[in-house]
Amino acid sequence: MSRHWRAPFSLLLSAFLLPLCASAANSFENTAIVRIVDLGGALVHLTTTYAIRALEDGSNVYTIALGEQEHGHTSWLEAKLKGQTERLPLEDFGYHKDSGVYLYTVELPKALNVNQTANLVIETVQTHATYPWPEEAAQKDPQSLKYHSELLVLSPYKTAVQRTKIKSPSPQVHSYTTPESVEFTTDAVVTKAGATITYGPFYNIPPSATGTFVDKKQKEIVVHYALDFPVLEVTKLERAAEISHWGANLNIEDNYHFHNAGPRLKGHFSRLEHQSQGYFGRPAPHVIPSLQLHLPAGIHNVYYYDLVGNVSTSALRTTPSIPKGAEANRFSVLEMRPRYPIMGGWNYSFTLGWDSPLADYAGFDSKTGKYVVGVPIMTVIPGTVIDDAEVKIILPEGATDIDYYAPYPALSERISTHISYLDTVGRPKVTLKYKQLTDKHGGVIYVTYKVPSTAHLRKAIASATALLGFFALGLAVKRLDTRIRRK
């Protein structure tokens, strides 16, 4: 899981701070909490709006709580004030053992006085929160998923009103839970209108981020809904970006392992049915026949192959480079057709690579004498989760003073040596590893490094020396007399 927030406190420190936190529970109250759940395939987007009111002067640290299950699925979390685009700083307090919840604190841009209010919007993205149900579907069958969630939004503060709205991507909702004996409401617990299911409103909820509340009052809800789009997962993505100063080239090579996480194909694949579905224009929802990838503009020498060779079924449309600084609104589009349609439960892997002008990505900082190269972490595929990602950035041979700035910290990072064509000492390689990346995680890793001009000449000198040595050897051998007896 990769998050963009800091986790600066050691476990000890957080244990020390937590009681403090709990005591601070009196500093706010929630006048309203509205959670909107946008159901999807591999990803579920949650937007929770907290309307908060300060109970003490100078309150500026708001605490939010995630239940254990919820926390396990969440891979992206960001806090904003409503109507503003700036992210608020988040701090991770980790697992709070007594109450069984994970706590995060949001630092408000300015402290609130008594009775002042603010609207805090927390956006989270959940991965692997849904699963196909039924687990198997024949080729003609529709696709349905189930989503499990908790009924009430946990908060360490008192809450006046709370609602949860679950929006299904299609109005076809097969079933949803109607929880029994919920005590905070008198009306119907749940109402459905079109594709939206609304739980609540629930009134006057006490501070709920406690173990007893979670055990006694929390309810689980399940929504079973139809999805018309395939559920694509990337089980593994390896990206290697190689920077070449001699070639003024940034080569990016991605190694994808796709998996169709929709319902497993029941029985076997029938080409006849697949072809007739295509003929009548009614493709099955859980089949991935092709995939559109938005690659950067200005790329050339694009190649896509798998273990047995070129994927001849694909097509590419490129666009020229966009001037630096301009908004990236044009893309090269790769219409990637896997060798076979990816049915539910099937896998497919392939390698995609391209060259792009280094000038589009690199700059030179004359103050520090360092080069700055921005390497995109991934090609964003909307609605897709990347379970394991490894980004390798290979710098030119002889690069020193290497620094890198990732938009969110990696799970592991390492600098090693990579040896490639005509290298003598090898090139530095930065490896970053991530898990559970979503379409929100698209970002750029900035790498800065110095390359002394002697390092540029190293390759040329090395190959020239080798060739000269070879010729010298040839000269010597030609002049050597190996005859035993002179004639």
Partner: protein, 775 residues
């Protein structure tokens, strides 16, 4: 002396030598470039991919070598091939090719050039073709001179007969073997000429490399002894021959026995006995020469007479006895099939079922060699005219290789080098004659205007005549042949000085014609290479209506599906043609593959394919088969599919189970091979037929389904399958994969279970429990 055109006279001999040597180097470099470039059509038109069938195994083995090291490769037991038997790869292959790629791979990686092993494998054959051109140059240089050598190098570089087995991606033993063949022959000739043990050893070393690389080494094993024997019979025994042959045979044989696949064959099989016999004979002859130097000639006569008869009888008896006792293996079937083209079809149908083992059709000689094929005899005649030791070699080589090329399409490959050499000798003699500026002296030739005009007339006629006649006539006015004819016609004719060509025009005509032939040769080679020999056969190409290339990629689609979506130990059964490809691309165990060493196992697959489901099912289950793969071209008209190969499966199965499988049952009473309504019941019930046409008719949506390969109408109600399930069909239906069902959990017969699942009523009259799924 009159000259037809003037030559610059102010050049020092050193300048001429240096310039010609530089020109030779540049020409050789260009020829190498052309040889490599013309083999790259496959990469440019398609991609850098391994072609066909056997190369896929070589590639797979090379990957093992590159990834795990030489010893792991040497001891590699491939348990995924010939399931459940497995295959000792290290002991059943010629490792030369893989070792060569492995060495190149390791050297490049040591130099920090991390080239992909696939690219090394793909480009190995073009690279070695450049070396072949060079070794052919060296060989031909020994026959005539450097200019003939350059011509031969250019010929072999682009001759389609050699390109057919060495395009980029054709990663097969022949890729390096032709270079080794030519270089071994070159060093043999060199050793014979100089009597040098060094070159004899070099011959032995390259012979060893050849043995490690290709089963065709037996050709060298018999060519060199044949040459030596001929020389002895011609009375040309010399110490040079003795040294060359003995050093070659002793070192070469010992070295060749180090290859595990060859082992003790060089002393135990009939194919190698000729070499041993000639070796013995040489010792005797050498000893006899020694004796002759010491005793008087009369005594020697009687000693010789007695000993020759005695030793000859003894040798023949020993050979016969050893063969009888089984110490020496008799000739193998493959060997017999070289002499009797009908032999394989009768006794070893597996060999006969391979298309490249068929006798050569006449047009393919022209297609593969173009004008070389009619220059070739002229070159051989010229060899007869000089008849030094090395020319005897070329003559023998030409005769033997011509025969073999006529027997087997595949052996066209061994013919090509000698054709190139002989044609180059002939062509360069022609050019020598007509470019030489020296004119016969007119004053001296008072009696010879007739001759002059006849020669000129011949040349003029040559320019008018058709292309085939052109060559013969062009070869005819060569000084040697012409003088021979003239000498026969007019024994009292003038001296040698009067022979020659008058004037620039005759020279121009002939040279112009010759150059034209060369030009057409280049065009022909380029055309044939690009259109006929550069298809990877893994990928099929067709053309879209707008002229762009459309790739039909069904094989890789299906193999990749197997690789990604089936368990790693799933056993795949298919006809043996696809075994190597499945192992290489799908990485799954196979029952049989292109290394056709076990006829019974192949016949088992043939039996399963050609019998009904009920009979085949126990066979499939006993062999743990999970998937069955068939190739079906009926939808898009791909004619190399399994239904067309089906009769071979039947024949091979019949060879082992003559009671159960009979070929005539697969024909209609009229003797036709049909798949439509008129097909016989045995055919319609066979597993192969069912798997090929399963649900095929439904694709046509009620219209009449047509099989485009056989041009026959497929029955509307297609076959049903009870013991297999369709698992995957590729986009153009070329590859169809079926999963073998497990036994019914309730213990019913699968047919009954299927009928029950489809809601069919059970017929009471038929007791079903009798048929159990697995014995």
């Amino acid at each position: 002396m009159p000259l037809a055109y003037s030559l610059p006279s102010n050049l020092s001999p050193a300048t001429v030598t240096n310039t010609s040597s530089l020109l030779r180097i540049i020409s050789l470099a260009l020829i190498s470039g052309a040889a490599i470039a013309s083999r790259l059509f496959a990469v440019i038109n398609f991609e850098s991919i391994i072609h066909e069938f056997d190369p896929w195994f070589n590639y797979r083995a090379t990957r093992v070598l590159a990834e795990k090291g030489f010893y792991a490769f040497w001891n590699w037991f491939d348990h995924t091939a010939w399931y459940p038997l497995g295959r000792v790869v290290g002991g059943t292959i010629y490792p030369g090719l893989m070792a060569t790629s492995g060495v190149i791979y390791n050297v490049l990686h040591a130099l920090n050039l991390p080239v992909d092993i696939r690219n090394i494998c793909v480009l190995l054959a073009p690279g070695f073709s450049a070396l072949t051109a060079w070794s052919t140059y060296m060989f031909t240089k020994e026959m005539k001179d450097e200019s003939a050598g350059l011509l031969a190098a250019a010929f072999i570089g682009i001759a389609p007969g050699y390109i057919s087995r060495s395009v980029a991606g054709s990663y097969d033993n022949e890729a390096i073997a032709i270079f080794l063949l030519m270089f071994t022959f070159y060093s043999w000739i060199k050793a014979l000429k100089t009597g040098s043990a060094f070159f004899g050893t070099l011959t032995a070393l390259f012979y060893f490399y050849m043995v490690a690389a290709w089963g065709g080494y037996a050709f060298i094993t018999n060519m060199i002894p044949l040459h030596a024997l001929t020389l002895i019979l011609m009375g040309r025994f010399s110490s040079r021959l003795y040294v060359a042959y003995s050093s070659w045979y002793a070192i070469g044989t010992l070295a060749s026995m180090q290859v595990p696949f060859v082992g003790f064959q060089p002393v135990r099989t009939s194919e190698h006995m000729a070499a041993l016999g000639v070796f013995g004979l040489l010792q005797i002859v050498a000893f006899a020469e020694l004796v002759r130097a010491h005793v008087s000639s009369k005594q020697f006569q009687s000693i010789l007479f007695g000993s020759v008869i005695g030793i000859g009888l003894l040798g023949a008896l020993a050979f016969g006895g050893l063969t009888y006792k089984g110490w020496i293996a008799p000739w193998t079937g493959r060997f017999y099939s070289l002499w009797d083209t009908g032999y394989a079809k009768k006794y070893i149908p597996i060999i006969a079922s391979v298309s490249e083992h068929q006798p050569t059709a006449w047009p393919s000689f022209f297609m593969d060699l173009q004008f070389l094929i009619f220059l070739f005899p002229a070159g051989v005649v010229l060899c007869f005219r000089e008849l030094r030791d090395e020319h005897v070699f070329v003559i023998i080589y030409a005769v033997v290789a011509s025969y073999f090329a006529g027997v087997m399409v595949r052996l066209m490959l061994t013919l090509t080098p000698v054709v190139c050499v002989a044609a180059a000798v002939a062509f360069s003699s022609l050019l020598d004659t007509y470019i030489d500026p020296v004119e016969p002296e007119a004053s001296d030739a008072a009696a010879s205007p007739a001759e002059g005009t006849s020669a000129a007339g011949a040349a003029a006629a040559a320019s008018d005549a058709g292309s085939s006649k052109k060559a013969k006539k062009a070869a005819a006015p060569d000084p040697g042949v012409a003088s021979g004819i003239l000498a026969a016609v007019a024994p009292s004719g003038s001296g040698p000085k009067s022979r020659g060509i008058f004037g620039l025009d005759t020279r121009g005509l002939v040279v112009f014609n010759a150059l034209g032939m060369l030009l057409f040769f280049v065009l022909h080679c380029t055309y044939v290479t690009s259109s006929a020999y550069s298809s990877p056969s893994v990928v099929l190409a067709s053309t879209n209506p707008d002229g762009s290339q459309h790739i039909i990629d069904d094989f890789r689609e299906a193999y990749y599906w197997l690789r990604q979506n089936t368990p790693e130990d799933a056993v795949v059964m298919s006809w043996w043609d696809y075994g190597y490809q499945i192992a290489g691309m799908a990485d799954r165990p196979t029952l049989v593959d292109n290394n056709t060493w076990n006829n019974t196992h192949i016949a088992t697959v043939g039996k399963a394919m050609s019998s009904s489901e009920e009979v085949a099912y126990p066979i499939l289950r006993k062999h743990d088969v999970d998937y069955v793969l068939v190739i079906f071209g009926g939808l898009i008209g791909y004619s190399g599919d399994d239904i067309n190969k089906f009769l071979w499966m039947v024949r091979i199965a019949q060879g082992v189970w003559p009671e159960e499988i009979q070929e005539p049952n697969y024909f209609t009473p009229k003797g036709e091979y049909r798949i439509d309504d008129a097909a016989p019941a045995t055919m319609k019930n066979s597993l192969m037929y069912k798997m090929s046409y399963y649900r095929f008719a439904e694709l046509f949506g009620g219209n009449q389904a047509v099989d485009r390969v056989r041009g026959q109408q497929v029955p509307k109600t297609g076959p049903t399958l009870d013991y297999l399930d369709e698992a995957f069909t590729s986009e153009n239906w070329i590859v169809r994969i079926y999963q073998v069902k497990k036994e019914d959990p309730l213990g019913r017969d699968l047919k009954a279970a299927n009928a029950f699942a489809n809601g069919k009523k059970r017929k009471k009259s038929k007791p079903l429990s009798r048929r159990r799924a697995v014995a």
